[in-house]
Assembly symmetry: C2
Homo-oligomer: 157 residues x 2
Amino acid sequence: MPSDLDTAMMIRALDLARHAASEREVPVGAIVYRTATGEVLGTGSNRRENDRQPHAHAEFTAIVRACEAIGDWRLNDCTLVVTLEPCPMCAGLIVNARVGRVVFGASDPKAGAVTSLMQLLSDPRLNHRPTEFVQGLMAEESAMLLKEFFRGLRTSG
Amino acid sequence: MPSDLDTAMMIRALDLARHAASEREVPVGAIVYRTATGEVLGTGSNRRENDRQPHAHAEFTAIVRACEAIGDWRLNDCTLVVTLEPCPMCAGLIVNARVGRVVFGASDPKAGAVTSLMQLLSDPRLNHRPTEFVQGLMAEESAMLLKEFFRGLRTSG
């Protein structure tokens, strides 16, 4: 179940997604926070086109920054909140970084690796699984941002 | 089938893996080169413990550096050579970066996402698949480095 902190963080993640759109990036935003205290350790918005990097996804950046902030590659006591379902690369990073909880908004039927195309966060063969993942938190708001962005791309040719 | 270039690059990647071991990192090395010319665009060795970052895998670093070198997130005309089968995170990055060819050495029965645990590079639902992947090139040399490393860890307690 999402907590009040999750909801507050998702509202901020949606702002980060809007920021991405303002930079002509697919609007996705993400935050990593300490589950117990709500301390924000890392934030990210999608930067693939501007950074010209295939890994510059919102949740990837948020996780890398959180690891920098605490000086450790393990995030067991943290929650990742992201507006869109993670892709295989980001789900793999969540496993590698041992992220404790994951909350996402809209599902991604084309590349989602948590529930849609595959279930990387609940695969018992991998050496870590989050204790919990929550899907669909403010999913309509996230999906609406994505829809508006892609409609804008089509009309601007 | 591996080309002579693949073999030459794997010999260099094994050197990068030995360098990782000398820094007390799990010995894995990787190179990205232009398939047609053999120009090396990026190299990497495993740096997870020293960098304190969950994404500091050899092939991840090699791909990120190759994208920096060419100023593009697409590596369609490149080959990745890596001494160990990529994990889900790195296989996801290979898909996202549209890497043209992938050559790896030893298989990873615990986390390999190319042939062992899952087959991310041949999944028709994802939006990219390498035109070719080659497994097992100099696999014994790679496996021996890993075995020696973990034996050393156990005996050093």
